[in-house]
């Protein structure tokens, strides 16, 4: 199971790449593996605000529809529109081209509860 260095992780298997006051957000390799073939992604509207760990997207595979929780508190500034026609990017490149959206962080304290790559790897071992 690939865990990318330099990202922050949630127990629900979302990741956040923090650059300045913006976080790029997606789901982890573990999550996409569990889901199987992703066939549909519902993304939030640009401009919408979410509290940390609030559901903000739905990823659907042939197996199930899964809620995705926003790892940080913030306002959506951009969504990955490529996923509308290529939802499989979430499987192929979950830490890269399969990103879900970008969020302007409104509460940096919400970052404190996230795990770094090492801690997330340890967490995965407990599952």
């Amino acid at each position: 199971m690939a865990v990318a260095q330099g990202l922050l992780y949630t127990k629900d298997h979302e990741w956040a790449r923090v650059e300045g006051d913006t976080a790029t957000v997606g789901i982890t390799d573990y999550a996409q593996e569990q889901l199987g073939e992703v066939v549909f992604v519902e993304l939030p509207k640009v401009g919408k605000e979410f509290g940390a760990h609030k559901e903000f997207a739905v990823v659907e595979s042939s197996k199930a529809a899964s809620d995705v929780f926003c790892p940080v508190a913030g306002r959506v500034t951009e969504v990955n529109t490529e996923l509308e026609t290529q939802p499989e990017l979430v499987n192929k490149d979950c830490y890269g081209e399969g990103w879900l959206c970008k969020v302007k962080i409104t509460d940096t304290k919400s970052l404190d509860s996230l795990m770094d790559a090492k801690k997330y790897e340890e967490y995965l071992k407990t599952l």
């Binding site: 593996e33 199987g36 066939v39 519902e42 739905v58």
Partner: protein, 431 residues
């Protein structure tokens, strides 16, 4: 479970327990990651090895091998075994020929479906009965209660209730590892390359007998030196395919022999995911979805009225089935919809709409197969006509969708806007 019971209803409390590894668990973890193994009907079973789509394709183009060792396998034998099964099953049993199997239903006296079963005749007084894993404990308890004279047999007459406990019948669990001999668990090999694969593991005369099996006929042969009962049945809609009943101790060896022999022919191990997508594509019912379940779907509604012999002298639930056969107004239909890129997958309970946008039924099961979605739905019989165009309304998939006004339940006749179009297709498909 709380709630009122109707006269003749058989109530069984399922005991929840820890799931146990399937007989083939050690083989599964060699072939797939533990994260792809799930608890299913009390067993740890693989969801997929490569991918659901790849395994589905393998069964349609080559063949796939399934772990069905979770399925219940019972022996019903004794001088009155045939008569006992004829009372318990909606289909005929006493006139079943040796080496033949027959599909039917076990009902309670109120007409509720307790399970769908296959009865195999192995001798004049010796039968094998395969039941669903999830229903095995319930069925064993029911049969036991019938033998003891404790379950309701007929709400109108005591004739058969008095007869049943007197019948000489013995019921044994054939999967029990402590059984002295003739232990059996189920593996399924399904798809066009099945016979060629088995041909590599059998002597030529046995291979010929297997190839010549008619649907629902079986033989007992050695495969790779292992005693097997091989029946031309399956749950994938494949014209070519068998189930192999084998000693649980030999099951891992047989599993590996078949995979090895089948590898050059494109045979893949297949998990629960493709098992579901294949049976949905074929139109086959799953207990709890297209049979019984929250709509209490009867065999008539499921499209299997032929397996309920109303003209038989007696079977448990017969009076209720006579009423259902006259009055049912909903049925299971197979519907084809688009699965093009960007189309949201339909899910269980999504509403089906007629041309006016009024709800005429609900999705029971659905699967994405290549560029199509196939749904099995519970539909008003007036709409369940091949070629009928239907709309689909997606129910809320998350709390936030519900907050934005997307409905979580749509009732019959309710008018809503369609999100996607589909067409009613043939009830079953063969491959």
């Amino acid at each position: 479970m709380q709630g009122s019971t109707s006269p003749g209803q058989f109530v069984f409390e399922q005991r929840a327990g820890e799931s146990v590894p399937s007989v083939l668990y050690d083989e599964h973890v060699k072939l797939t990651s533990k994260s792809h193994i799930t608890a299913f009907a009390g067993y740890l079973m693989p969801l997929w090895y490569s991918s659901i789509a790849q395994e589905h394709r393998a069964v349609r183009q080559n063949a796939g091998l399934f772990d069905c060792t979770h399925m219940g396998v019972l022996e019903v034998c004794g001088p009155d075994a045939g008569l006992f099964l004829d009372v318990v099953s909606t289909n005929r049993v006493e006139d079943l020929k040796l080496g033949r199997a027959r599909y039917g239903y076990v009902l309670d006296a109120a007409g509720n479906v307790l399970d769908d079963i296959i009865v195999y005749r192995r001798g004049e007084t010796r039968f094998m009965v395969v039941v669903n894993a999830a229903n095995e404990a319930k069925i064993r308890s029911y049969l036991h209660e019938l033998q003891q004279g404790r379950a309701v047999v007929d709400t109108a007459s005591s004739l058969w209730a008095a007869k049943l406990p007197k019948l000489k019948v013995s019921i044994q669990d054939m999967r029990d590892p402590n059984r002295p001999s003739d232990r059996r668990v189920d593996l399924a090999l399904q798809g066009p390359a099945s016979f060629d694969t088995l041909g590599k593991l059998t002597d030529p005369s046995a291979a010929k007998r297997i190839c010549e099996l008619k649907s629902f006929a079986f033989v007992e042969e050695k495969v790779g030196g292992i005693d097997c009962l091989i029946c031309r049945t399956g749950y994938t809609g494949s014209n070519v395919g068998v189930e192999l009943f084998v000693d649980p101790k030999e099951a891992p060896r047989l599993w590996n022999l078949i995979l090895e022999a089948g590898r050059p022919l494109g045979v893949l191990p297949c998990g629960l995911g493709s098992r579901d997508s294949l049976r949905i594509e074929a139109g086959l019912p799953l207990y709890g979805h297209e049979l019984d379940g929250k709509f209490q779907i009867s065999p008539f509604e499921a499209g299997y009225g032929w397996a309920v012999k109303l003209d038989k002298e007696f079977f448990i639930g017969q009076a209720a089935m006579r009423r259902v056969a006259e009055t049912y107004d909903m049925e299971v239909a197979r519907i084809e919809l688009s699965a093009a890129r960007g189309v949201r997958p339909i899910r269980q309970d999504d509403a089906l709409l007629d041309e006016k946008g009024e709800c005429v039924g609900w999705v029971l099961s659905a699967a994405k197969i290549e560029e199509k979605q196939i749904a099995l739905a519970y539909l008003d019989r007036k709409a369940a006509v091949e070629g009928t165009r239907l709309g689909v309304y997606y129910l809320a998939r998350s709390a936030s969708q519900a907050e934005q006004g997307r409905l979580e339940v749509v009732t019959k006749g309710q008018k809503v806007d369609s999100d996607l179009g589909g067409t009613v297709t043939s009830r079953f498909a063969k491959f």
